[in-house]
Symmetry: C2
Amino acid sequence: MTKAHEGNLPAVTEEMSQRFDAWQEAGFDAANCPVRDVLDRVGDKWSVLILTALAEEPKRFSALNRAVGDISKRMLTQTLRTLQRDGLVDRTVYPTTPPTVDYRLTELGHSVLEPLSALIAWAETRHDDIRAARNAFDEDEAVAA
Amino acid sequence: MTKAHEGNLPAVTEEMSQRFDAWQEAGFDAANCPVRDVLDRVGDKWSVLILTALAEEPKRFSALNRAVGDISKRMLTQTLRTLQRDGLVDRTVYPTTPPTVDYRLTELGHSVLEPLSALIAWAETRHDDIRAARNAFDEDEAVAA
DNA sequence: CGGCATCCATGATGATACTG
DNA sequence: CAGTATCATCATGGATGCCG
């Protein structure tokens, strides 16, 4: 019954349970939850990619479009607007013809790279484990059927 | 033009741009992207909440149902299945009548709490900034209209 | 170049009822 | 208790075409 993780990560475990208890007591209003707010942006299809693309230097709309790859102009515009609205990205228009617009991370946008980078690193180092678990699960399922 | 964030977080910035370059070179297959895999789970409506609820101790289905709050049995089942499939959660059935089932984090599940906790902490400390940015943005929009 | 408006397909989520 | 099955709904995202 005892798994390999008994007592391995007490600090974070403690942290998370306390957070959960706090949410419980506060009633946990999902509509106004900071975590949900952030995860909505982190969880959508393009935000993380755009944030990453802007990490090094500001980029223009069309440069972003090329950099991100197969994103449509519609989604690029929409995602950038949301990131801008949330204060993660700054939009600058230069009154040239044709118009020139560039996007850059704000201080807030830069600061989110830190926790985000940790999550991405976890994803990359642990992805093999996820894939293995997935294959095992699907095989068991196939046997059961 | 120079913002307050010039040269503030060089390490993470560097990390992220290198990651982005690596993705570019590799062709960035979105269908088989580790980050996308993780974000899909982190970004959905219930996974983080369930992971958090299971941080301290294993819980039974109905206990989870109560703990998480307004989740439907349907979504609880579905989310738990996915978490189990990805190897983050372990499901144990005790052959009693009526049936007893409990869910607990695997080592992999525990390990993701670390980067996740950092992201949640960021969300909670920076949420005021996000809200402020959002209000400012919406006001400007209202003025323009 | 940097968008916006429109339409549409898909998947995610919710409500409800039923079951071993 | 711990689900499954079915249907309805809604948000997300893609395709296309137009504009200053």
